[in-house]
């Protein structure tokens, strides 16, 4: 396995994860599919031609793994139609191009949250925590926790958009 391959592999993990998550929604499911995808990517690595689009190649493998996952889990995970997921995949691939900018913006926005909110969203995204379990552990009614989480996410989304718009104004050429 060449160094270049390893670099590409590690550098594309986050983007690949987000592409998968956009299509399956559940954090753990996405992680599982990412693992499956990685296994295939690593076993098939001799087939990758240096210089071609690495992300597109892995995205293709991921798409197949998502399909397999959906088949394996049958009806319980079939929430959206295939056509819809195709659209999501196209959009997610495109949106993946400015990920670093978004990630940095998210970091800044997290710092701006009220301490209480930051703590809440932090514990929601701790490994292996579901929103429901979290509500139970902090002793708040699940519904109110859901509402808070929704509000915090919206806040963060807006903050990110604003941050990106601001930085685009500062620079002569927008990144997208």
């Amino acid at each position: 396995m060449s160094e270049e391959f390893v670099q590409l592999f590690t550098r594309n993990q986050r983007r690949l994860y987000l592409l998968i998550l956009s299509q399956v929604g559940n954090i753990q499911d996405a992680e599982e599919i990412l693992q499956d995808t990685n296994c295939v990517v690593l076993t098939k690595h001799p087939q990758f031609e240096a210089g071609t689009n690495f992300f597109a190649w892995t995205a293709q493998i991921a798409t197949f793994e998502i399909l397999k996952f959906r088949q394996r889990h049958g009806r319980s995970k079939l929430r959206f139609t295939d056509q819809f997921l195709d659209l999501v995949a196209v959009e997610a691939e495109a949106a993946g191009e400015n990920l670093d900018g978004r990630r940095e913006a998210l970091e800044r926005c997290l710092q701006k949250l009220r301490a209480k909110d930051r703590k809440l969203i932090q514990s929601r995204y701790e490994p292996s925590t579901s929103a429901k379990e979290m509500a139970e552990s902090i002793g708040r009614p699940a519904n109110s926790v859901y509402q808070s989480l929704g509000r915090i996410r919206r806040t963060l989304l807006e903050c990110i958009s604003r941050q990106l718009a601001d930085s685009a104004e500062l620079r002569p050429q927008p990144t997208r």
């Binding site: 992680e31 978004r102 970091e107 579901s130 807006e158």
Partner: protein, 750 residues
């Protein structure tokens, strides 16, 4: 810029208020089916809405991945590990000095959990890395590789330890500190449980509802097989000869398959790898250490034959097969009403006494009586709901490996099977009914549910069904071209059992052979294993036919079939392919060629029972048998959930998923197993007077069924010495056991 933000601005939320509410529900796993439809509709309305959808999901992912510390983030060093590791294929077991290093800088004393998270991650990283170069499998052969081998995981708590030692460039890998919000520097987590897990053996629970599947009409001849005669259970000389002849025939067929595909078979598995495999496959758990020691010392040429015979007579053989078939027949989540224990007991008897498979099939299809007295009745008792549609579909899927459920409403998409066929089979179950007996509560006098009885009613006539044109149609009991008298004097289920088990190569035999082969190799002749319909031709039909006819000739001798497979050449092979670029990769969707052993995940039951063999965690306190069984059931239940649909399906998360990994890493069972309470294996080992290296050897033996290599031992020793904990409290050896139990090597059959 420092003002806290808390209230979203109106602009965006107004526009996408409903969309973002639905997305929030989606991200927190509380979206209903109706809401999912609505969400799809809203997001598809405009490119803007679609972008919002994706940005929301990306935020969801980034919060997990970057901001809140996705499990254990790997530091830069992990990348160099990846490079070092993968660029040195000949030394690929030299993975790692495990980690924990920078933890000391941040926290003076890392908690057990943190250290363990680090161990676990490295195990996972190793598995992932080596999967790419087939190294994972070669790591199983470490025993024979001499000083090249190195530990499953190794630890250095001293950041000043020189990195790279001799030919083994050891790399510090992971910071076990979970990085919190605000730290976005982490490298991606490479996942916490990587195992090969196609899970299509008969251990895997069947998720019903595979839309495009069905089975095939057969041209069955109407010869009646003389079944019902019990094949001998003890090996006699004549049988031994014929057994060898059949194995030779199977080997010939397999060798032809290798030749035709231009694939060289893998080397023969070493005895340690093989004894573990054959135990898991035949008796459902890893071998007791003393059995391993005895087997490794056995130099007789027929030691494998002897072991197979021994295991086939072991009570755990019938227990394991009864568990597997109970799960197949009624699922793991069947209703409380059904007497699961009685069915399991019935099956245990059948397997133990080695009754012909046709007899078991007949009982399952035709049994009448009380659920607790006639265990076989529970199969239909579990599936008679909804006009016996599940009974029809499950009978086909489990006993015939045919998927007919979609033909309930329309003809099969590929055209071979009509809708009639489904309802004609269904008609066989239409005389059957459940009587719910009640008893009086002695205190209140109220009627309480007591037990179920499966009865045949004296009714005749056709079944009615509606076709796609909404016309009412009738169906009479017909199966496989055999009609039976639809009058009320016919016992339709008994007739069905007769038709199913007649002929010289009936589907019921082919299906059983397919499942059994799949049990031992992880892959059968069709993918999925329970879809042998006309649209899904089996791979290697000659081999399947050969074994099937032999199985029928043997009088449906289940143990004999298991013996043939276990003694076949293919089953002796290592899981390391002969060449790194082997095309024998069914995990990538290719046709299995059986030129090596495929690595499979343990089933939930195999894992649980193996954990108990390795740790004796159940003996930490004295419990009644019921309590032990209740705990086992409770442990298993966390992985399975019934799907509420009309086909009695269920879903599982026991497939190498996150849930499973977490249950293992943090669960109560593992915690008990790795705390040296009196009665546990760990306690026995720790309290022995043996030197430390012997204790390490024992820990490896009880968990992995092999001894550690000398290099593993020395690295582990170094690690233990560096530990800041007092070695006398035994925590560190407990951690070592924990790492072994969570390794991919422990969690798979290879």
């Amino acid at each position: 810029m420092t003002t806290p933000i808390g209230k979203p601005l109106a602009k965006m939320t107004d526009q996408f208020a409903e969309l973002s509410e639905l997305l929030a529900a989606y991200c927190d796993d509380r979206l209903s089916d109706d809401q999912a439809m609505r969400l799809e509709g809203l997001a598809s309305q405009s490119p803007k809405a679609m972008r919002f959808f994706v940005e929301y999901m990306h935020l969801h992912g980034m919060l997990y991945w970057d901001a809140a510390g996705a499990a254990v983030p790997l530091q830069e060093d992990a990348i160099s590990l990846l490079q070092t590791q993968t660029s040195l294929p000949d030394d690929r077991d030299a993975v790692t000095d495990l980690v924990g290093t920078s933890a000391d800088a941040n926290a003076s004393r890392p908690s057990t959990r943190h250290r363990r998270v680090a161990w676990g991650t490295v195990t996972a990283v190793i598995a992932l890395l080596t999967l790419g170069t087939w190294g994972y499998w070669s790591s199983l052969n470490r025993r024979t590789q001499g000083p090249d081998g190195s530990p499953v995981a190794n630890n250095t708590n001293d950041p000043t330890t020189p990195v790279g030692e001799g030919t083994n460039p050891a790399v510090e890998v992971v910071s076990p500190v979970i990085v919190r919000l605000g730290n976005g520097q982490q490298q991606p987590n490479l996942g916490s449980s990587v195992t090969s897990r196609e899970g299509m053996g008969s251990h895997s629970p069947n998720v019903a509802v595979l839309p495009e599947s069905t089975g095939g009409p057969k041209t069955g001849t109407a010869e009646t097989l003389a079944n019902g005669q019990a094949p001998p259970t003890k090996r006699v000389d004549g049988l031994l000869v014929s057994s060898q002849a059949v194995v030779a025939q199977i080997d010939d067929a397999i060798e032809r398959i290798w030749e035709e595909n231009g694939v060289a078979p893998a080397a023969i598995a070493d005895d340690a790898e093989w004894i573990r495999r054959v135990h898991l496959d035949l008796v459902g758990h890893i071998p007791e250490p003393r059995r391993v020691v005895a087997f490794l010392a056995d130099k007789r040429s027929d030691r494998r034959e002897r072991l197979v015979d021994e295991l086939l007579d072991d009570p755990d053989f019938s227990r394991h097969f009864a568990t597997t078939w109970t799960n197949l027949l009624i699922g793991r989540t069947s209703s409380q009403e059904v007497d699961r224990g009685a069915l399991a007991k019935y099956l245990r008897e059948q397997f133990h006494r080695n009754r012909p498979w046709t007899e078991t099939v007949t009982d399952l299809v035709a049994a009448e009586g009380f659920e607790d007295e006639k265990g076989a009745t529970n199969f239909l008792l579990a599936h008679l709901n909804n006009e016996a549609v599940p009974a029809t579909a499950v009978t086909c899927r489990v006993l015939l490996c045919e998927q007919v459920q979609c033909t309930q409403c329309h003809k099969h998409p590929t055209g071979e099977w009509s809708q009639n066929r489904f309802w004609e089979l269904n008609a066989f179950f239409q005389q059957t009914d459940i009587v719910r007996h009640r008893r009086n509560d002695p205190k209140t006098g109220a009627k309480l549910p007591d037990r179920l009885e499966l009865v045949n009613l004296d009714v005749g006539g056709p079944t009615f069904f509606e076709n796609r044109q909404e016309e009412m149609k009738v169906a009479y009991p017909v199966f496989d071209g055999c009609e039976v008298d639809p009058g009320q004097s016919t016992n339709r289920r008994a007739e069905l059992a007769r038709i199913l088990t007649q002929g010289d190569r009936p589907q019921v035999a082919r299906a059983f052979v397919n499942r059994m082969w799949g049990t031992f190799f992880g892959y059968g002749f069709t993918l999925p294993i329970d879809d042998m319909g006309p649209h899904n031709q089996p791979a290697h039909p000659e081999l399947l036919d050969t074994i099937t006819s032999r199985f029928v000739q043997s009088g449906y001798d289940v143990k004999q079939l298991a013996r043939w497979i276990c003694l076949s050449k293919a089953y002796q092979l290592s899981s390391v392919p002969a060449t790194a670029d082997s095309v024998d990769t069914p995990e990538n969707g290719n046709v299995p060629i059986f030129s090596r052993m495929y690595v499979r995940s343990l089933s939930a039951e195999q894992l649980y029972d193996s954990l108990l063999v390795a740790t004796h965690a159940d003996r930490a306190k004295t419990h009644s048998w019921e309590e032990v069984e209740r705990r086992r059931q409770a442990w298993l239940e966390q992985f399975y959930a019934a799907i509420e649909n009309e086909e009695n399906g269920e879903s599982d998360t026991f497939n190498g998923s996150y849930t499973q990994a977490l249950a293992l890493m943090n669960g109560d069972l593992i915690r008990r197993a790795t705390e040296p309470a009196p009665g546990t294996v760990l306690h026995d080992i720790l309290s022995s007077v043996a030197p430390e290296s012997e204790k390490i050897r024992q820990l490896s033996l009880v968990t992995l069924s092999r001894y550690p290599t000398s290099q593993e031992t020395s690295r582990i020793k170094r690690l233990l010495k560096q530990s800041s904990n007092d070695p006398r409290n035994g925590l560190e050896l407990g951690d070592l056991m924990w790492a072994y139990l969570n390794s991919a090597e422990f969690r798979s059959i290879h």
